[in-house]
C-alpha cells in the first residue's frame, strides 16, 4: 500500500514544486485544490451523480443491445457476412465523432451523452461477442447436437459459456470506451452537470481550482473503476481460464 502511495505522493510534490517556482502562471497549488474540493463538495457530488447515472444507462444499453447482436452474428453466418464489414469499419471511429450528429438531432443533454456512451461500448461488445461465439470449437457444437441438445440447451450450455471469455473481454474494453465517451461527451454536450462538464465549464471561466478538483475526481473514479471493475473481471476470466493477459 505504502509502496503504491509513495510514487503518487512524489507527483504531488512535483506539482507543488512547479507551483512554488511559478513555472506555470495559472497553476493552482495542491492545497488550494484540496480546499476547493472541500468547499465545493455539493456541486462536485452532483456532477459525480449525473455522470454515474449517464454511464450506467449508456453502458447497460450497450450491453443489452451489443450482446444479442454479437450472438446473432456469431450463430448466423448471413448476419455475420452482412454486418462484419460495417462493424470492422465503425469500430475504430472515435466515439466523439458521432457527437456532432447527435447534437444536431437532440441538442445538448442527457440523451446525446447517453447515446454517445452507448456507441462507445456497443461496437466492442458486439464485435467481441461475435468473435467469441465463432471461436467455439465446431466439434463441441456437433457433439452437443448429436447428444440431442435442443436449441435452447445448445445456447445455454455450449455457446454462452464457450464465448464468455471473449464477451467479458469485450465488456472490459467497453468500460474503458464508455468512460472516455462519457467525459468527452459531457465536455461537448452537457447542459448543467457532470464531471466532464465541470472541467469544461471551469475552463471557460478560468476557474482553474475547480478544474483541477474535477480532474482529481476523474482520476480517482478512473482508478476505482479499473481496480474494482476491470481487474476483477480480468482475474475471474482471462487469468483463471489461463488465457494470456492483455
Amino acid at each position: 500500500m505504502l509502496i503504491f502511495i509513495l510514487p503518487l505522493a512524489s507527483l504531488v510534490i512535483i506539482w507543488w514544486t512547479v507551483y512554488w517556482m511559478g513555472l506555470i502562471r495559472v497553476l493552482p497549488s495542491p492545497i488550494e485544490v484540496a480546499g476547493t474540493m472541500v468547499s465545493r463538495w455539493r456541486i462536485l457530488l452532483r456532477d459525480l451523480g449525473s455522470s454515474a447515472v449517464r454511464i450506467a444507462a449508456g453502458f447497460c444499453l450497450a450491453m443489452v443491445i451489443g450482446i444479442p447482436v454479437g450472438l446473432l452474428m456469431g450463430t448466423n453466418r448471413y448476419v455475420h457476412f452482412l454486418l462484419r464489414p460495417i462493424l470492422t469499419l465503425l469500430l475504430p471511429v472515435p466515439t466523439l465523432a458521432w457527437v456532432p450528429i447527435l447534437l444536431i438531432m437532440w441538442g445538448v443533454g442527457d440523451q446525446t451523452i447517453i447515446f454517445a456512451i452507448f456507441l462507445g461500448g456497443f461496437f466492442s461488445i458486439a464485435y467481441n461477442t461475435a468473435t467469441g461465439v465463432r471461436g467455439i470449437d465446431q466439434d463441441l457444437i456437433l457433439a452437443a447436437r448429436i447428444m440431442g441438445a435442443s436449441r435452447r440447451e445448445l445456447f445455454a450450455k455450449v455457446l454462452l459459456p464457450g464465448s464468455m471469455v471473449s464477451v467479458l473481454a469485450g465488456l472490459r474494453l467497453a468500460i474503458g470506451y464508455s468512460w472516455r465517451a462519457l467525459v468527452g461527451a459531457e465536455m461537448l454536450a452537457a447542459a448543467s452537470a457532470g464531471l466532464g462538464f465541470r472541467v469544461f465549464n471551469s475552463w471557460r471561466f478560468v476557474a482553474v481550482d475547480v478544474m483541477f478538483a474535477s480532474l482529481v475526481i476523474i482520476m480517482a473514479i478512473g482508478f476505482i473503476m479499473e481496480r474494482f471493475l476491470v481487474e476483477p473481471l480480468e482475474r475471474r476470466t482471462v487469468k483463471r481460464w489461463g488465457m494470456i493477459r492483455v
Binding site: 509502496i3 503504491f4 502511495i5 510514487p7 503518487l8 512524489s10 507527483l11 506555470i24 495559472v26 457476412f81 452482412l82 454486418l83 462484419r84 464489414p85 460495417i86 470492422t88 469499419l89 465503425l90 475504430p92 471511429v93 472515435p94 466515439t95 466523439l96 465523432a97 458521432w98 457527437v99 456532432p100 450528429i101 447534437l103 444536431i104 438531432m105 474503458g176 468512460w179 472516455r180 467525459v183 468527452g184 465536455m187 461537448l188 466532464g196 472541467v199 469544461f200 475552463w203 478560468v206 482553474v208 478544474m211 483541477f212 480532474l215 476523474i218 482520476m219 478512473g222 482508478f223 473503476m225 479499473e226 488465457m243 494470456i244 493477459r245 492483455v246
Partner: protein, 259 residues
Amino acid sequence: MYELASFLFPLLLFVALWEIFAHTGLVKPILLPPPSKILKRLLIEAGKGAGEIGLADHLLNSLYRLVIGFSTGAMVGALSGLGMGMNRWIYGYLNPVITVLMPVPGITWTPILVLVLGFGDPTLITVTFIASFFPVAYNTAAGVRSVKRDHIWAGKIMGVDRMGTVFKILIPSSAPYIITGLKLGLARGWRTLIACEMIAAALTGIGFWIFDAKEYLKTDVIYGGIIVMAMVFVIIDRIGFGYLERQTIEKWGMSADIG
C-alpha cells in the same frame, strides 16, 4: 480477392439501402443525407484548391499531429516499459503512476494543456503523446516481465552482453505485447486527437472539421468525416501493422491476437 469482395459487397448493399431509405423521406434529410450527397460533398471538399481549407488540409494536419504525437509517445512508452520490465525500482515507481493516470480520458488533459501551451499544434500533439504513451508503456512492461528467466539466464551463460539481452532476448520475446501496445496506443492517440481537435478549436484537422460543420448543420460533412476517419484508420491498421506483424511475430511463429 474473394475476401475483398465479401467485405465490399455488404458495404455496397448497405450504402444502396441507405440511399433508398434517405430518399423515402421517413427521416429528415438533414439528419440522414443520402450517400450520393455525402460523396459529392467529399469530392467538393477534396477538390478545394490553394487559399481554401479543404479535406486534404484537414486530413494532413490531423495525420501530421498523429504521426508526431504517436511516434514520440510510443518511443518514450516503449523505453519506459523496457525499463519497468528490467528494473524493479523503475517498475515500483512507474507502475502506480501509470495505473492511476492511464484510465484518465486523454481529452481531460486538453484544458490544462491549453492554459499552458495555448491553442494549436503543441497542445494537440502533447495530448496525442500522452494518450499513446500509456498503452505502449503498460503492455511493453507486461511483455518484458513475462519473458522467461531461463531464457535470460541461458543468454547470460552463453556470454550475451546487456545490449544483446535487450535486443536478442527481451524485445523479440515480448514482441506480441509490444505490438498490441502499439496498436492500442495508436487507436487511443487517434481517438483522443480527434476529440481534442473538437474542443481546442484548432482551425484545421478532421475533428475540427466535423465539429465546425455542426454549426452550419452540414451533416453531409459530418458523415463524410466519419467515413474518412474509418477508412484512414483501417488503412493504417491493415497496411502498417499488417506489415509489422508479418515481419516480426508471424515470422517467429507468435500471434498478437491477445486483445
